[in-house]
């Protein structure tokens, strides 16, 4: 041992690779770590490991037409005898090779006892002449190299053997892993029966490896993407560690001199080699990312040197990886975590060194809760282990709680979600309703938006003035009609100013009432636009319309603060509309001029709007870009509720303007929010009303109804109408005595029932239960 360690210290090298002619299936190193053999379907070569390069030493694949015996599934270099190699061939042959043979063909012995592909060969670690093989045909055979035939055969009971490994510490023991997920332990002296067997994985166990130092530890890797470490030293085999990887595990190799480290590579899809610390199963300790196709063979260069790893791959390269060049995922990992609570709480965990820099650093157990309260308990603390090479990360957890009743509270969200109407009424009424809901909840901006939407999309659809009247429901339309265009515009201009002052006044009161308002206004430029004069005009314009209604329907009163009703102003609101609606305005140019003189104090966007207000044909489409922008704005602001609600209410009017993915994204976010607030009904309504395919599908999948049999009261597993256990039809129609497969209607009094139409017919004639139980059934 001492000698070997010294040898290892002389190993040097760097990360290097060489191209092979063909994909490799397996590799193995000789004991003194100076040469490596690569075997595959079309390659069988020995490379010397030089300081900075691989040097081809020998090509064992000789002959004009190499036989299938050269097509290797596995290869192993004897660890005692440096001239001896064994290969497992895909055609079922086990071949040994003697490098000391003088001729070109180094093949020494050929065993063709296996019927199927041999998956693995393994030399005994200390016994020179003992070779073990495991094959697809379910047999393991032990060969004595001095004899022509196998000395003993072990039957795995017809299941394919994927790996065989001699125990390093126990002379007589070997482990075999099987395609059905089992691992068996055998005593080499007893071929009749395995010593013990346990199920290690679901699906094939592709590989296993004995721990070089710990007598009872066996690592196994399987198709189920797990690496498990088993302790065999106890009476019951115990799983002591488990690492979940991202792909089927093809090979596993313990790292020399590092008790808890092992290297794995995967069978498919993932090309990297990982070195795990089994105690830290969530993140690889080190990763080698050089290969471009799946890695098929890994081996540590020297059995006492943990710094050199060799690997062969399907991409036809052979690599020597230096441990110091490995990438360490831990370093790149983010030990920070951030999570929002439902009600605006924020939890934040970060490296303690970052968090507590200004405070005392040495105190490991301390937690900081800047700004929040300290109700939250400290979670786990792992004792730092000096043998672990993992960077010790201690994190501080901070919880920021939102103040109860503060603006961040989500009550408005719940209220809004519950009160908004999304369908079932004409578009105009929906908008009105929603505007009022928003208003009631002190959300003037949203309220305004709804009103705006109503204007934009309801009337243009009917360009004639008369239909407009109906929609407006305003009592003084004849008056509007009597206005001449010019007159109206003039009046508009004049009174608008007057009006605006009033409006501004009302806005201010509004603002004062509004808790959030300052925040909202300050946060975004666009918010200001929305609160801008023009919008405000419209807002009040329409709130005044509501007043009109209120006047007509006395019981319908709108709370309207600081804005006394005045009759002259009431004409105004409707004034811009006829202009807007008028198909051909004779005064277009004049109106435009007036509108520009009307707008100097208004924002740019309004100018464009007001100019176009006068254009002869105003298709609803014209507003789409603005509305789209508005929706995006709301979504950006985090008010996805508004975006989705508007989307649903507007329906086809806007849907085509916004690309499907964005829509889907909004829907998903809103539905997610609704579900987190347990607003199932609303979320369901939203799903139902959505026009996105993927969203609508949400309600059509994964719905399971669990029902119990009415006879034996046990759950009915597969069919809705027949019980597996008592073989009775659970729901029989009381009228026709056939099984009901569709709608089943039943009386809640006597629980008899049947086909809907049969019951309806029956009850036309009789009031008694059709089952004859005498109950006077009631159906509503």
């Amino acid at each position: 041992m001492e000698k070997m360690t010294r040898v290892s210290s002389t190993i040097s090298g760097c990360t290097m690779f060489c191209h092979l002619d063909a994909p490799a299936n397996a590799i193995s190193v000789c004991r003194d770590a100076t040469q490596v053999v690569v075997a595959g379907r079309n390659i069988f070569k020995i490379y010397g490991l030089e300081e900075d390069a691989f040097v081809e030493r020998l090509n064992l694949r000789v002959g004009r037409k190499p036989s299938l015996n050269f097509s290797c599934a596995d290869v192993m270099w004897h660890q005692m005898e440096e001239n001896l190699l064994a290969t497992a061939a895909t055609n079922g042959a086990v071949v040994t090779w003697n490098l000391a043979r003088p001729c070109r063909n180094k093949q020494e012995q050929l065993f063709t006892e296996h019927k199927r592909t041999v998956n693995k060969v393994c030399f005994h670690p200390t016994e020179v002449n003992m070779l073990l093989s495991g094959s697809q045909d379910g047999f393991m055979k032990c060969f004595d190299l001095r004899k022509k035939e196998s000395v003993s055969t072990f039957s795995g009971q017809s299941e394919s053997v994927r790996d065989v490994q001699f125990s390093i510490k126990d002379y007589f023991t070997f482990a075999a892993s099987f395609e059905n997920g089992n691992v068996q332990l055998w005593d080499i002296r007893r071929p009749d029966r395995y010593e013990r067997m346990f199920t290690a994985h679901t699906g094939p166990v592709f590989c296993c490896d004995w721990h070089p130092d710990d007598r009872g530890w066996l690592a196994t890797g399987g198709r189920d993407k797990m690496v498990k470490v088993w302790d065999m030293s106890t009476n019951r085999v115990k799983e002591i560690y488990c690492v979940q990887t991202i792909a089927s595990v093809a090979r596993v190799k313990w790292r020399p001199e590092r008790r808890y480290h092992l290297a794995t590579c995967s069978m498919m899809v993932d090309h990297n080699i990982y070195v795990w610390d089994v105690r830290r199963p969530f993140i690889p300790f080190a990763t080698f990312e050089e290969h471009r196709d799946v890695t098929t063979g890994i081996v540590w260069r020297h059995q006492h040197d943990p710094y050199f790893l060799l690997s062969g791959s399907k991409d036809s390269t052979l690599y020597q990886h230096m441990f110091k060049d490995a990438s360490r995922p831990v370093d790149r990992a983010n030990p920070e975590g951030l999570c929002f609570g439902l009600l605006g709480d924020l939890a934040f965990a970060a490296k303690e060194s970052l968090m507590s820099a200004p405070q005392s650093v040495g105190d490991v157990g301390r937690k900081t809760y800047p700004g929040g309260d300290r109700r939250y308990p400290i979670f786990f603390f792992k004792k730092p282990d000096v043998t672990e090479q993992f960077a010790q990360v201690s994190s501080a957890l901070s919880v920021f709680e939102s103040e109860a009743g503060s603006g961040v509270g989500m009550d408005w969200f719940i209220n809004t979600a519950q009160s908004y109407l999304l369908s079932g009424k004409p578009f105009v009424e929906l908008c009105e309703h929603n505007a009022q809901v928003a208003k009631r909840l002190n959300r003037p901006q949203e309220s305004t938006t709804w009103t705006m939407l109503r204007i934009m999309f309801s009337e243009p659809a009917n360009p004639s003035l008369s239909s407009n009247h109906n929609l407006n429901k305003s009592g003084n339309l004849p008056l509007v009609n009597s206005f001449s265009m010019k007159e109206m515009s003039a009046a508009l201009n004049e009174r608008n100013k007057e009006n605006r002052q009033d409006n501004l006044h009302s806005l201010e009161t509004n603002l004062n009432n509004n808790d959030e308002n300052e925040e909202t206004e300050g946060s975004e430029g666009q918010a200001e636009y929305l609160f801008g004069d023009a919008e405000l005009d419209d807002d009040d314009l329409y709130s005044m319309e509501h007043e009109n209604q209120a006047a007509e329907e006395p019981e319908y009163l709108l709370p309207q603060e600081a804005f006394p009703l005045r009759h002259e102003i009431m004409d105004h609101p409707s004034a811009p509309e006829p202009v807007q609606e008028k198909p051909e305005s004779p005064h277009v140019s004049g109106s435009e001029a007036e509108s520009t003189c009307l707008t100097p104090m208004e924002s740019f966007s309004l100018i464009s709007v007001s100019q176009l207000l006068f254009s002869p044909h105003l298709p609803p489409k014209f507003f789409c870009p603005i509305v789209k922008e508005m929706l995006c704005y709301y979504a950006e602001q985090g008010d996805v509720q508004m975006a989705v609600s508007v989307l649903i209410v507007l329906g086809d009017r806007i849907r085509k303007e916004i690309d499907e993915l964005t829509q889907e994204h909004w829907y998903m976010s809103y539905i997610d929010l609704l579900q987190r607030f347990e607003l199932w009904n609303v979320s369901n309504e939203v799903i139902k009303l959505s026009t996105c395919g993927p969203i609508m599908c949400l309600n059509q999948a994964s719905t399971t109804l669990h029902i119990n049999c009415s006879n034996c009261k046990r759950p009915m597993s597969n069919r809705g109408w027949i019980c597996d256990r008592c073989h009775q039809c659970a729901s029989v129609c009381a009228v026709c005595h056939h099984v009901v497969k569709g709608l089943f209607v039943w009386c809640q009094g006597c629980s008899h029932g049947g086909h809907l139409e049969h019951m309806m017919e029956w009850l036309k004639q009789s009031r008694h239960c059709p089952a004859g139980c005498g109950h006077l059934c009631e159906y509503t």
Binding site: R41, K65, P66, S67, L68, N69, S71, A73, A89, T90, N91, G92, T112, E113, H114, K115, R116, T117, Q136, E179, G203, P204, F206, R223, A247, S248, M267, M268, V269, H271, R292, D293, V294, G693, C697, A701, S702, N718, R719, W721, I722, H727, K741
Partner: protein, 444 residues
């Protein structure tokens, strides 16, 4: 309940479920009453495919589970699309049974009726599957990563996600192999599917009853001898440990692969009936015999390099987990299925025979097992069986009753159905392996 099941089975119908197998025989052998009543209850009736598979209840349960999972449970593709893909796939093998069955299922699932007017009416995204469908059905070994890339590549119009694609691939190969089963067992159309003139094509041209009566004593004893001979061969194959050169093994594989077994088609079915042609593009593309060695044969796929157990499953598990489990189970069941009987003999180890059939099918699909001696195929599978197997696996629409009756004359019908199950699954696995290999290459 069981009586009810019996009553409702379509035995009263004159035709029965199969053109080849008398209904009495199915009912006699049907140890599957339990399974059948299961299917009866779920579907309201037992369709003919299920009746036939009911001869092998263990497999039928497993098949039905996969079938339902594929068509009904959660998956990336919409339900109606799945049926439409099945229609496309089965139309390639002119299987009117499946086309009709899934056309109505397609409409039930809310599919757009106009799609049924033809492939050109379906969305472009589905149309783009056409090439893959064609290759999977007839020459899966041609599938390369470019085919996958074409469909999956981002930026392309109507692109397929890998998850969708894998489901579509499973659906297509499932339908292709099911079409083999339908043709191979001579499954007759369901009673309600009548009315289409094209259906007449799949009804038998020869009466099976006539054949039964004509079977005279001499033929019978001949047949009995054949079974004995076959069993002896199996014994020999099982025991012999002869060693062959690589050369010899390759030759044997190639011989099996290239052997031309198809009887010259007496009637050239040049024009495809409209009910298929509207779903089929490039109808002339069919299975092609591997040309004899040397003449630019496509490379064989080595089973050791890409196997279902190791590679196929791992990839499928990643992309479509449930299906991987179900298929894995189905393959295991079908490979292990045996009653240790052969014709009139019982307690026979049929594993070599089953292996030979399985490997023969993989062989004609270009998959080679290094560790298998293809000489066994030659010894165990008589020529008429090979003709049948190759026809059903590669050109199912050309199956004739004569082929069905001429192999294994003295074997039970259920054993012939067993052959069909092996055939169907081997074919499915072969197609999947090629497709999955292409995906693997695309991903790496």
């Amino acid at each position: 309940m069981k009586e009810e099941a019996g009553v409702d089975q379509p035995q009263t119908l004159p035709s029965g479920p199969s053109a080849f197998i008398p209904i009495e025989e199915i009912l006699d052998e049907g140890a599957a009453q339990e399974v059948m009543s299961e299917a009866l209850l779920s579907e309201g009736r037992v369709d003919h495919i299920n009746t036939m598979m009911g001869l092998h209840p263990t497999y039928q349960t497993c098949f039905q589970r996969t079938h339902n999972a594929l068509l009904q449970l959660d998956g990336p593709l919409p339900l109606s699309w799945r049926h439409f893909i099945i229609i496309l796939a089965s139309a390639r093998h002119q299987c009117s049974y499946l086309v009709q069955h899934h056309s109505s299922a397609f409409l039930l699932a809310g599919g757009d009726e106009s799609w049924l007017r033809g492939l050109h009416c379906a969305p472009p995204k589905i149309q783009r599957l056409q090439t893959l469908n064609k290759l999977l059905a007839h020459r899966p070994w041609i599938i390369t990563q470019e085919h996958i890339q074409e469909l999956v590549c981002p930026g392309a119009e109507a692109r397929w996600s890998l998850a969708e694609l894998i489901q579509a691939i499973v659906l297509m190969s499932h339908a292709h192999s099911l079409a083999s089963f339908v043709w191979g067992c001579g499954v007759l159309p369901e009673p309600e599917q009548s009315g289409d003139e094209s259906l007449q094509m799949c009804s038998p041209t020869e009466s099976c009853c006539a054949r039964d009566k004509a079977r005279n004593q001499q033929e019978w004893s001949e047949a009995v001898n054949e079974v004995k001979l076959l069993m002896e061969k199996m014994m020999i194959v099982q025991q012999q440990g002869e060693e062959f050169t690589q050369e010899e093994m390759v030759t044997r594989f190639e011989r099996e692969r290239t052997e031309s077994l198809l009887e010259p088609a007496d009637v050239q079915r040049s024009v495809l009936p409209d009910c298929f042609s509207r779903f089929v593009v490039d109808a002339d593309f069919t299975y092609q015999d591997f040309s004899p060695r040397g003449v630019q044969a496509p490379p064989t796929m080595r089973a050791q390099d890409y196997s279902w157990e190791d590679h196929g499953f791992s990839l499928m598990n990643r992309l479509y987990g449930e299906m991987a489990q179900l298929l894995d189970e189905k393959f295991q069941v079908v490979c292990a299925l045996t009653y240790n009987t052969m014709a009139m003999h019982s307690h026979v180890d049929t594993s070599t025979l089953r292996k030979a059939i399985w490997n023969y099918i993989h062989c004609i699909y270009g998959i080679r097992y290094d560790d298998y001696n293809y000489g066994e195929v030659n010894q165990l599978l008589e020529r008429s069986l090979k003709v049948y197997v190759k026809t059903v696996a590669c050109h199912p629409e050309k199956t004739t009753p004569r082929m069905y009756f001429s192999f294994w004359r003295q074997f039970r019908h259920s054993e012939k159905v067993h052959v069909n199950l092996l055939l169907m699954e081997a074919r499915l696995q072969a197609a999947l392996l090629y497709a999955l290999r292409a995906i693997t290459r695309y991903m790496t």
